[in-house]
């Protein structure tokens, strides 16, 4: 690799509550790469992102972001946490929601300068969500909230974007919109992206590489290198078949699509409301 990596793990072990979520993992991500982060539920996609943010330390080995150990409050990292259905009837405007995150770690009274306001509106515009500035959060659909959070992650021109399941609870059309927006902005601004998702297929056209997590291990490479029966069988700890058909890739275990199963399992309840676009 000619360039210094943005993210590098060297024999890193990351444990939560005594359980090694990642064990002896090594990989390096080059600047500007768009990485799809995949793997079964509980494989450590969220934990990896939290480790990169400095919220979970590596217990063994080294973990580096921009060549330094991860530290909280790194302004060069934009983060979109996994959406949780909190504060459903909060009537906070999109603009105020994003504003709360600007210098939100400082003490004192909140304030919003004209420059901050312009920056927020500019960023909302960049993700095609200018109208969300004045709308309350409680009236946004799942897709609109994700775009709002994406805009927020882009505030301050980060060099690295950590997007944790930004497609969750979105229908296929909105998923494509979100992927397209991230892809475009990442290319324009040279941002490195870690984009976790349940299903590989929606990401196929957008990602440069895939980081597959599972069974405390990780495999990084192109889709052709990683999404193969031998690699995934190790990561899922069970015999995996990879079937390619009509431009799609199906990861099967004993005749079942494991990604789709995980997805169904995750979203069998609590559907987000869509389509307030009358």
């Amino acid at each position: 690799m000619t360039q210094h990596p943005i993210i590098s793990l060297d024999h890193a072990t990351v444990a939560i509550g005594g359980r090694a979520v990642l064990r002896d993992v090594s990989f390096a991500i080059a600047p500007g790469e768009f990485i799809g982060v995949l793997g079964p539920n509980g494989a450590g996609k969220t934990t990896l992102m939290r480790a990169l943010l400095g919220l979970v330390p590596a217990s063994v080995g080294t973990l580096r972001v921009f060549g330094a150990p991860p530290a909280r409050g790194n302004a060069a990292i934009g983060y979109l946490p996994q959406l949780r259905t909190v504060l459903p009837d909060l009537r906070v405007r999109g603009l105020d929601y994003i504003a709360s995150s600007l210098h939100g770690e400082r003490w004192g009274l909140p304030s919003l300068s004209a420059a901050d306001r312009d920056a927020i509106e500019h960023t909302l515009d960049a993700v095609g969500a200018a109208d969300l500035a004045r709308r309350p959060l409680s009236e946004m659909s799942g897709g609109e909230r994700q775009r709002l959070l994406l805009a927020q992650a882009l505030m301050g021109n980060p060099k690295l974007l950590l997007l944790d399941e930004p497609l969750i609870s979105l229908d296929a059309r909105h998923q494509e919109v979100v992927i397209g927006v991230v892809r475009r902005i990442a290319r324009e601004r040279g941002i490195t992206v870690l984009f976790s998702a349940h299903e590989l297929n929606q990401l196929l056209g957008a990602i440069d590489k895939v980081l597959y997590l599972g069974n405390s291990h990780a495999a990084l490479g192109t889709v052709d290198e990683v999404v193969t029966a031998p690699v995934l069988s190790t990561l899922y700890d069970t015999e995996i078949e990879v079937v390619r058909a009509a431009g799609h890739i199906f990861v099967m275990s004993r005749g079942r699509d494991v990604e789709r199963d995980a997805h169904m399992h995750d979203h069998g309840h609590g559907h987000e409301h869509h389509g307030h676009h009358h």
Binding site: L87, L90, G104, E105, Q152
Partner: protein, 265 residues
């Protein structure tokens, strides 16, 4: 009615407490911690009656107990998986202790009624000074932590990643809620702090979207309800706390069931 000092004192005290309650309550509602505020007031009842038993002023006991309980709740953080249940158990235990203290100190009974249901018409100058100090302390603390408090409330995961000390913020916030509750209990009583802390704030959040407009409206509604409540009580001879609670409920339900234009876009 303003020819009487006790009415003027009541208006001043209620005005101070209403502003503090409305503003503090706004964040309590935003964080979904109204039940914690309710519990703090009940714990304060045990503190006040306990203080009476050992010869201290009830207000000192009230402030001391709510403050300790608020800090303890904040430090426990999310470790209590089911906080509502734990808070509920502590709440009833605190009321139980309050009753036990009363049992041993029966002459305190009239003051107990004032503690439970409020007695704003008996406020004197010393109490106004105490309420001013409590209110000022609450608002200063709130002003110091307001920015990270809002961030931590709206987006805890991101706030944590950006370096906001979530537990510290939560603890300071519950400590200042404890001070506000202690002040509020002097006006409407420990059983009815919801009337001034939650009702106006919840109504304000349903009526306006902006932060500052919401805070101003919450405080204004609380002051209006408190003053109007005292006025109605003066003319009808009904208990003040009833009048304030009634106004609070009316305003809240009017705001909650206000027809909205949410599908207009």
């Amino acid at each position: 009615m303003f020819q009487y000092d006790f009415v003027i004192n009541a208006f001043i005290a209620a005005g101070i407490v209403a502003v503090v309650s409305g503003v503090t309550g706004y964040f309590l509602v935003m964080r979904g911690q109204t039940f914690a505020g309710h519990a703090l007031s009940h714990i304060g009842f045990a503190g006040a009656t306990g203080a009476g038993l050992i010869g201290l002023s009830p207000l000192a006991g009230l402030v001391g107990f709510t403050l300790i309980a608020g800090i303890a709740m904040g430090m426990m953080g999310e470790r209590l998986a089911n906080r509502d249940v734990a808070i509920g158990v502590v709440l009833s235990l605190a009321l139980g202790f309050g009753i036990l203290f009363l049992y041993y100190y029966t002459s305190f009974a009239t003051q107990a009624t004032a503690l439970l249901f409020g007695n704003v018409l008996a406020v004197d100058l010393a109490m106004i000074k105490a309420l001013s100090a409590l209110g000022a302390a609450t608002l200063v603390l709130l002003a110091l932590i307001m920015r990270p408090l809002i961030f931590a409330t709206l987006q805890p995961e991101l706030a944590e990643a950006k370096g906001v000390p979530l537990r510290f913020i939560s603890t300071v916030f519950l400590a200042l809620v404890a001070l506000a509750v202690a002040a509020c209990a002097q006006i409407v009583g420990v059983l009815m702090v919801f009337a001034l802390m939650v009702g106006p704030a919840a109504a304000a959040q349903r009526l306006v979207n902006g932060l500052w407009s919401g805070l101003v409206l919450a405080a204004a509604l609380a002051v209006a309800e408190a003053w109007l409540g005292i006025t109605i009580a003066y003319h009808t001879d009904w208990p003040v706390s009833f009048c304030i609670a009634l106004l609070s409920a009316l305003v809240y339900f009017a705001a909650a069931f206000r027809p909205t234009a949410r599908h207009a876009h």
